[in-house]
């Protein structure tokens, strides 16, 4: 019970202090809207909205979660308020889950902003919503844990932003969000399959357009595996680097 009180407090404080601030809300709305509009203007065809939707959703989650978590944790470490959390009588696992849950929720909300836009512009009937929600959740989890991995690896806020971009921008092009993995040069394809977002985007493609090419169960398993590995690795790093 005591652990849950601490967990909820950390989560609510982060949501209120960081994620639900006007700049982040507007980013969450403007970013997917701008990408959707860009493709819409390019194609001039409402049908294509549904084709680009999985990519825009995946990108919204990726950009919404990674940098937010990396920046907020780095910021709290700089102001030393993170030390207060480390010295609290809650386990490191619970603490880091509380810190990351805010980003996961933010990522899930971000993912559905383009869905709301798309609903006004195209027909979304036939979408497998259960698989979509599952895919969105796991993309948010792995992206958030990638953000945690970045936060543990840097010490300055600007480093967190730079390091986030180092991962994110290549992923936009390598993970099949807008360019199918199969059409990428052969030497880049192994890299694509090594990145978790490839599997997340493929789940969304399958559930929205039935255009994915990887078994959803395999993608779900791999995403869950990536999440566990990134979280475990980050916890190990925190124990080694932050509790000196």
């Amino acid at each position: 019970m005591k652990t849950w009180i601490a967990f909820w407090s950390i989560l609510l404080k982060d949501m209120k202090n960081y994620y639900l601030k006007p700049p982040n809300i507007s980013w969450g709305i403007i970013f997917p809207f701008a990408w959707t509009l860009m493709f819409f203007l390019k194609t001039q065809n409402p049908i294509d909205i549904r084709e680009i939707l999985p990519g825009v959703m995946a990108m919204s989650i990726l950009f919404g979660t990674t940098s937010m978590l990396a920046v907020t944790i780095t910021f709290e470490r700089r102001s030393r308020s993170f030390e207060r959390l480390l010295m609290a009588p809650i386990s490191l696992n619970t603490l880091m889950l509380a810190k990351t849950t805010g980003a996961i929720v933010f990522g899930v909300i971000n993912a559905f902003v383009p869905v709301v836009f798309a609903a006004f512009m195209t027909d979304l009937s036939g979408v497998n919503w259960v698989t979509t929600i599952g895919g969105v959740f796991l993309i948010a989890v792995t992206s958030t844990f990638l953000g945690l991995f970045i936060a543990v690896s840097v010490s300055e806020v600007f480093e967190a932003q730079t390091f986030s971009n180092f991962f994110r921008f290549p992923m936009v092009f390598l993970c099949g969000l807008f360019i199918p993995v199969q059409t990428l040069p052969a030497f880049l394809q192994p890299l694509s399959y090594a990145l978790p977002l490839t599997y997340g985007a493929d789940i969304l493609k399958t559930s929205i357009n039935s255009s994915g090419f990887i078994q959803p169960l395999l993608s779900f398993s791999l995403l869950a595996g990536y999440g566990l590995v990134l979280f475990g690795f980050s916890l190990k790093n925190i124990k080694n680097k932050w509790i000196h």
Binding site: M1, I5, A6, W8, R84, L86, A88
Partner: protein
């Protein structure tokens, strides 16, 4: 009864030894001072005691909890006030206190009630709904201390609580620390203000270059360092006339110092009887107003033992804070 037992505690960072084989115990209800210059290992020791730093070797036991395995249980009964305020700038005073209370699993109504009580006790009622970033340094310090005791800890670790704040706030904080200790909280205080340790602490440890070089009650340390008796006489006047007369009559006197026409200081190798002096003043028709035994201060003891000038230590620390 010992509430904290530290045995052969060592902390190494690669080839650098920050804390070297220190041992001490703290009694329940004690106010224990940890004194040392900048970089002596005070904060590293606190970090190990509070779970923010790993122990290289040695052991720590807080009540029945052994470190590091039971550190999370120990953290439930300790309060920590770091050397720099580390509350959340965006939250207001009340929100900060409630958040800190929730980390210890306190229910909403209990934590809100306790936060209001502490805001009152720390004269922060009017600032409770203002963001922490708008607070003055003294207010920030007070709220940080309030956050450290929100869960009513058994042991409170205070790292340099009065550094960098104005005199009035520092005085108020010292009063609060005394009150907390009087109400039963065991306090571990690190400071570089020796007079603060002298006024507040029951026992003091001097730490230099990661090693405890002296430990004891303030009076024990002073007595140990006191190798002479100093008596200061305040007269109506004519103190300078007595210097020669005293030298002739009291050969065991180390030194006679005339501070002014009315003040005279006498150093002797052991405790002295005042009656021959009073007689001497009467013979010379001098009126004696006061005879005062001058004890060395803890600062003088510290300088004598460590060879480090206290003023230098203070300036060094304050320079670093700026």
């Amino acid at each position: 009864m010992h509430i904290l037992e530290v045995s052969h505690l060592t902390k190494r960072y690669n080839n650098f030894t920050a804390v070297n084989n220190i041992s001490f115990n703290i009694l329940k209800g004690e106010l224990f001072g940890f004194l040392g210059p900048n970089g002596s290992g005070k904060t590293t020791t606190i970090n190990m005691l509070t779970g923010l730093a790993k122990i290289t070797s040695g052991s720590i036991k807080l009540l029945e909890f052994d470190y590091p395995h039971e550190i999370k249980k120990a953290q439930q009964i300790i309060g920590i006030v770091p050397d720099e305020s580390n509350l959340y700038e965006e939250l207001d005073g009340f929100g900060n206190l409630c958040f800190c209370a929730s980390l210890y699993g306190m229910e909403k109504t209990t934590r809100e009630e306790r936060a209001r009580q502490l805001l009152g006790e720390f004269d922060l009622i009017g600032a409770g709904n203002k963001p922490f970033k708008s607070y003055s340094k003294g207010m920030k310090r007070k709220l940080t201390i309030a956050a450290g005791i929100i869960h009513e800890p058994k042991v409170l670790f205070l790292d340099e609580p009065t550094t960098g704040i104005d005199v009035a706030s520092a005085r108020r904080i010292r009063q609060l620390i005394k009150k907390l200790n009087k109400n039963g909280t065991t306090v571990f205080l690190t400071t570089h203000y020796i007079e603060e340790a002298e006024n507040l602490c029951h026992r003091v440890a001097f730490i230099v270059k990661g090693e405890i070089i002296k430990i004891g009650t303030v009076s024990e340390l002073i007595q140990e360092a006191q190798q002479e008796s100093i008596v200061q006489f305040t007269l109506a006047g004519g103190a300078d006339r007595l210097q020669q007369a005293l030298r002739e009559k009291k050969p065991a006197i180390f030194n006679i110092e005339v501070l002014s026409d009315t003040v005279l200081r006498v150093n002797t190798p052991q405790l002295i009887s005042l009656s021959p002096y009073i007689k001497l003043f009467e013979e010379n028709n001098l009126t004696l107003y006061e005879a005062k035994i001058i004890r060395p201060s803890l600062e003088e003891v510290f300088v004598k033992i460590t060879g480090i000038e206290a003023e230098h230590m203070k300036k060094d620390r304050e320079g670093r804070k700026k």
